[in-house]
């Protein structure tokens, strides 16, 4: 295949991937009538400001509440859950104990359990202890990410040489001290990678919040935008809210991924070489 053909094919795929996002950018700048009346990939009268303030005003600024919720669920959840996974993966990599590989098998099985299969029973359990429709109902399950434990084990064996730990131990450092002040700094890139994976996982989660939450003010962005979209058939003006809101919720994520390329690439490389 010629050099030209290879690049043309890649270019076609790129256009396919970027077209919907480009359309979103154009659509977010249009008023509702223009959305219908003007071509999708052309600017009409600039209405972005009005759309943004409509998003901000709808439901007493509930959109920003959703934004904050998503940041809390995903940010705190990935920060704490990432640490839990790194500690666990580190232990699997650096220590030996009886039944270790069997236990690790359980973690791997956990990767394969469809998360949606546990959501409904989780809801019923949560309702027994009055956790339904609270922040914790979405936050606590988000902390568990078996794939991160697997990733942490792989990355720990790559980033943390055993000799360094032995040196710390012979200097009299305890196991926890060794982990916190020697291993953890070396695992920072692994932690960022895992944080990113878990962050997107939680940010994208829809089924669990849908099942758990009925109070609008606890919704994450995805559920909030979905709830707006269910109004569109009856109230077409929600279209511009959904479109502008979608753009606002996608842009920061895109930026983070462009800036932190090195880390997700590292994670996916580690995941693929197994």
């Amino acid at each position: 295949m010629s050099r030209g053909a290879v690049n043309v094919l890649l270019l076609i795929a790129t256009v396919y991937m970027l077209l919907p996002l480009t359309w979103l950018l154009f659509a977010a700048t249009k008023s509702l009538p223009d959305l219908y009346a003007t071509p999708g990939f052309a600017f009409a009268d600039l209405n972005l400001g009005a759309n943004l303030s409509a998003v901000a005003e709808e439901g007493d600024g509930v959109f920003f509440r959703w934004y904050l919720n998503s940041l809390l669920y995903a940010g705190l959840g990935a920060a704490l859950g990432g640490l839990i996974s790194v500690a666990c993966g580190y232990a699997f990599d650096k220590y030996d104990w009886r039944g270790k590989e069997k236990l690790f098998g359980v973690v791997l099985l956990g990767v394969l359990v469809p998360t949606t299969a546990t959501a409904v029973p989780l809801y019923l359990l949560a309702s027994k202890i009055d956790l339904v429709n609270t922040f914790w109902a979405v936050f606590i399950p988000s902390l568990v990410h078996p794939f991160s434990v697997y990733l942490a084990r792989v990355l720990s064996s790559g980033y943390v040489p055993g000799e360094v730990l032995e040196a710390a131990r012979s200097d009299g450092a305890g196991e926890v001290r060794t982990f916190a002040s020697v291993a953890l700094p070396m695992l920072t890139p692994a932690y960022v990678t895992i944080f990113l994976f878990q962050f997107t996982g939680i940010w994208n989660n829809f089924f669990l919040p849908l099942v758990m939450l009925s109070d609008q003010r606890l919704f994450p962005l995805s559920l909030g935008l979905y709830s707006w979209n269910t109004q569109v058939t009856a109230f077409p003006e929600y279209s511009t809210l959904v479109i502008t809101g979608s753009l606002l919720s996608v842009v920061p994520l895109l930026l983070v991924f462009v800036l932190l390329q090195r880390f997700w690439r590292a994670g996916m490389t580690a995941g693929s070489v197994k």
Partner: protein
């Protein structure tokens, strides 16, 4: 790692400390719900004779499973998933593999740019991806529908052919992600192996198909496994489209069925049975894919 006996003793506490947070939470949010679902699936709510005074849970054995399996709506869900997977998996993974091979071919320019651009859709949350495409399918708003109509093609994305529209959203979301995994695996192939093949006179296409693809078999099997599990759980995209599409009913996929049973009909036993069967199917398929992958 720790070699001395004292070290081993010390290590034991550390192991507990490092692994307990994960496993305690794992037990609470994965194992307990699965166990509870299993338990629930064996009971049936029965309203007391007069219809008031609340319902009673009665042990019913496998009745929930049988009635779920007998429900045409549930069975239809599996046919939808089967058709979805038959279309989606080869298209998406094949596309990802082809793109990774193109990027790795040495003829590609701007590799970093292409990788990043192709990966972008994966960063978009599934629900938002569904919403964006929903508008791109909607006559009146969609430039795609308009362009096709100008070309004399009247394609109803949200009617009977909605399945292919849902497949398209998933292809858009996941191709770049899997492409990056394949590309990483391709880059790890020792260059000498490829040079030797080229010296033997194999062309680039032959090298790609006969040498590179078999060498990244592990990555292909892993992605296949995750794609199958993901396909079984299909929920977000069709639920988003449900509001405007005639082609999608509320029990369209098994997951939607479980959701509708639990929250539409409050039949938790039946919902649990549906969830368990879905998890069991995921386990069975995982087992076969892994076994098939370990052969050779």
């Amino acid at each position: 790692m720790t070699t001395t006996l004292a070290g081993r003793e010390r290590g034991r506490w550390a192991i507990v400390l490092f692994t307990a947070p994960f496993f305690v939470l794992f037990a609470a949010v994965v194992v307990a719900p699965l166990g509870y679902a299993l338990w629930l699936s064996l009971f049936r709510e029965q309203s007391s004779g007069l219809g008031f005074g609340g319902a009673q849970s009665v042990f019913s054995g496998l009745e929930n499973y049988l009635s779920t399996l007998a429900d045409p709506a549930f069975r239809d869900g599996f046919w939808v998933i089967a058709a979805y997977a038959a279309l989606y998996i080869p298209l998406m993974l094949g596309g990802a593999l082809a793109l990774a091979l193109l990027l790795d071919s040495g003829a590609a320019q701007l590799r970093r740019f292409f990788q990043l651009a192709l990966f972008m859709p994966h960063v978009v949350p599934g629900v938002i991806a569904g919403l964006i495409w929903l508008y791109l399918y909607l006559p009146g708003i969609s430039p795609i529908v308009a362009a096709l109509a100008d070309g004399g093609i009247h394609w109803d994305f949200l009617g009977d052919r909605v399945l292919s529209s849902v497949v398209n959203v998933a292809v858009w979301e996941w191709t770049g992600y899997n492409m990056v995994i394949y590309f990483a695996a391709l880059q790890a192939i020792p260059r000498e192996v490829l040079e030797a093949a080229t010296m033997d006179g194999a062309g680039p296409v032959r090298v790609a198909l006969r040498i590179k693809v078999p060498l990244i078999r592990g990555a292909v099997i892993t992605t296949l496994l995750f794609t199958i599990i993901g396909s079984l759980q299909l929920f977000n995209e069709p639920v988003v489209m449900d509001s405007v599409s005639d082609g999608i009913v509320s029990t369209w996929t098994p997951n939607m069925y479980a959701y509708a049973e639990a929250f539409g009909k409050n039949d938790y036993g039946q919902a649990a049975a549906a969830s368990i069967m879905l998890a069991a199917l995921a386990a069975v398929l995982s087992y076969f894919v892994t076994r098939w992958g370990n052969k050779k």
